[in-house]
C-alpha cells in the first residue's frame, strides 16, 4: 500500500475517460427531471382527480415505485426489455427510460403537495372567471404550485444526479464509470473512486448553494 498518487488526474485523463460519462450523467439527470416532472404532474392530477379509476392506478404506481430500490428497477427493466421486444435497447436508453419512470413517482408527490398548497380560494377564483378545469390548472394552479415547489424539485434533482451512478449495475458509461475505467487503466482504482467522490461533492454542493439562493428570490409575494 503506497501513498495516494493523484498524478494521473489531468486534463487528458478527464477528456479521454471522464467527459463522456459526465455528459451522460448530466443528460440522464436533465431528461429524467423534465420527463419525471411531466409524468409526475400527470400522476399527481390523477391522484387528486377524485375519480377512483384514475386515483387507484396512480396510487399503486407511485407507492409501488417508491417501495422498490432504484437499482432493482434499473436492473429489471434492462433485463426484461429483450424479453418484451425481442432485442436490447442498450444500457443508456434503458437507463433513461427507467429513471423517467422511477423519478415520476417522487416528482408526483412533490407536485401533489404543491397543488394542495394552493389555497382553495384560488381554484374558486379561476372557476368563477369561467375557466375550465384544464385552463385553471395550466394558468392558475400549476404555475403557482411549480413555483412553490421549485426548491424541493431542484433538491430532488440533486439527489437524482447522485442516483445516476446506480447505472453501474447495467454497465452504462456514466461519470462514475469514467473514473473507474480510468482507475483501471492507470492502475489507481482507490484514487479514482476518491476523485469521483470529490467531483460528485463539488457539483452537488454548488447546486445546493444555487437552490438556496434561488429560494430567496422566487418566493411569491402574497
Amino acid at each position: 500500500m503506497g501513498g495516494l498518487d493523484l498524478s494521473f488526474f489531468d486534463l487528458e485523463m478527464l477528456r479521454k475517460f471522464v467527459l463522456q460519462g459526465f455528459f451522460f450523467s448530466v443528460q440522464l439527470t436533465v431528461v429524467a427531471t423534465l420527463g419525471g416532472i411531466v409524468l409526475g404532474t400527470v400522476l399527481a392530477l390523477m391522484r387528486l382527480s377524485g375519480r377512483v379509476w384514475l386515483m387507484v392506478p396512480a396510487q399503486v404506481y407511485v407507492n409501488g415505485m417508491r417501495s422498490i430500490p432504484l437499482v432493482m428497477v434499473i436492473l429489471w427493466f434492462f433485463l426484461l426489455i429483450p424479453f418484451l421486444i425481442g432485442r436490447s435497447i442498450g444500457a443508456e436508453i434503458s437507463a433513461v427510460i427507467t429513471f423517467v419512470a422511477f423519478e415520476a413517482a417522487y416528482f408526483s408527490e412533490i407536485m401533489r403537495a404543491g397543488i394542495q398548497s394552493i389555497p382553495r380560494g384560488q381554484v374558486m377564483a379561476g372557476q368563477a372567471m369561467g375557466m375550465t378545469y384544464a385552463q385553471n390548472m395550466r394558468l392558475i394552479i400549476l404555475p403557482q404550485a411549480f413555483r412553490n415547489m421549485l426548491p424541493v424539485l431542484l433538491t430532488q434533482t440533486i439527489i437524482l444526479f447522485q442516483d445516476t451512478s446506480l447505472v453501474y449495475a447495467i454497465g452504462a458509461y456514466d461519470l462514475l464509470k469514467g473514473f473507474v475505467t480510468a482507475g483501471k487503466i492507470y492502475g489507481r482504482p482507490e484514487e479514482a473512486y476518491l476523485l469521483a467522490a470529490g467531483v460528485y461533492f463539488v457539483i452537488c454542493w454548488a447546486l445546493s448553494t444555487l437552490v438556496r439562493q434561488l429560494q430567496a428570490r422566487i418566493a411569491i409575494v402574497r
Binding site: P119, G121, Q122, M124, A125, G126, Q127, A128, M129, G130, M131, T132, Q135, L139, I140, P143, Q144, R147, I220, V221, R222
Partner: protein
C-alpha cells in the same frame, strides 16, 4: 334574473342550506346578512355553482345551474364574483389579472382585453398600479382590482362574498365607494355583508339568514330597517346587536 327555488345543501349530515327560495330581478341590489355559519356565503356561491346543491333549482338568466348538463364555465364567465380574500392571482401582474380570463375564456384579443381591463382599472382609481403584482398592493387596492377584474368580463350580475370583511377598517370605505357607484349605475348585485350602512344606502332588499341555512327574512330595505315590529324575534335580536353601536 336569478331565481332560487327550495335550495338545500348538506355537508355530510350537517344541513347548511335549508329550503332557500328567493329571486333577484334585473338591476336589483340585494344584501344578504346573518350570523356566522348561517350559510350566506354558501348560498351566494351556489348561484355560480362554486358550491353544488343536493336539492332545489337555481336559475340564472334562464339557465338551469342545478342541471348537470349545464355548461358551468360558460355560465360563470357571465357572473362576476368578488371574494372575501380577493383571490387575485399572485403570480400575475395586475394587468394580467384583468386580461387573462377575457383572453382565454371570452376569446378577446390581447389588445381588446387590455383596453377593456384598463378602463375598469381606471374606474376603480388604480391605473398607476397596472404593472404591479397583487402582493405589492394594500388589501383595499387588491379588492378594487378584484372588482375591476370581475367587471372586465362584462357580467350580467355581480356577486360579492363579504368583500370588506378581510380589510383593515381604513380600507373598507374605498371598496364600498366602488360598490355604491356600481349599484347606482344599475348593476344587478347580490352582496353578502355585515355593512349595514351599505345596505341602508343602496340596497333594494335585505335577506336575513339564520343558523341552519334558513332564510328568515326577505323584504325591502325599508321594511327591514324601519319596521322591526313586523320582523321575526331572531331578526330583531340580530338587528338590535349590530345596530346598537
Amino acid at each position: 334574473m336569478i331565481e332560487l327555488k327550495n335550495v338545500s345543501k348538506w355537508y355530510g349530515p350537517v344541513q347548511v342550506l335549508n329550503g332557500c327560495t328567493t329571486r333577484i330581478t334585473k338591476g336589483e341590489v340585494v344584501v344578504v346578512c346573518g350570523p356566522s355559519g348561517s350559510g350566506k356565503s354558501t348560498l351566494i356561491k351556489t348561484i355560480n355553482a362554486l358550491e353544488p346543491v343536493q336539492q332545489g333549482e337555481i336559475w340564472v338568466d334562464g339557465i338551469a345551474v342545478h342541471d348537470p348538463a349545464t355548461d358551468l364555465p360558460k355560465l360563470r364567465s357571465r357572473v362576476g364574483m368578488v371574494f372575501q380574500h380577493f383571490e387575485l392571482f399572485p403570480h400575475l401582474s395586475v394587468t394580467e389579472n384583468l386580461t387573462l380570463a377575457q383572453i382565454k375564456v371570452l376569446g378577446r384579443s390581447p389588445e381588446q382585453a387590455h383596453a377593456h381591463g384598463l378602463k375598469y382599472l381606471d374606474r376603480v382609481g388604480l391605473m398607476a398600479h397596472k404593472d404591479k403584482f397583487p402582493g405589492q398592493l394594500s388589501g383595499g387596492q387588491q379588492q378594487r382590482v378584484a372588482i375591476a377584474r370581475a367587471l372586465s368580463m362584462d357580467p350580467i350580475v355581480m356577486l360579492f362574498d363579504e368583500p370588506t370583511s378581510a380589510l383593515d377598517p381604513e380600507m373598507v370605505g374605498e371598496v364600498l365607494d366602488v360598490m355604491i357607484d356600481l349599484a347606482k349605475e344599475g348593476m344587478t348585485m347580490m352582496v353578502v355583508t355585515h355593512e349595514m350602512g351599505f345596505a341602508r344606502k343602496v340596497s333594494d332588499r335585505v335577506i336575513f339568514m339564520d343558523v341552519g341555512g334558513r332564510i328568515l327574512e326577505d323584504c325591502s330595505k325599508d321594511d327591514f330597517f324601519n319596521h322591526p315590529e313586523a320582523r321575526q324575534p331572531r331578526t330583531k335580536e340580530f338587528l338590535a346587536k349590530i345596530l346598537a353601536h
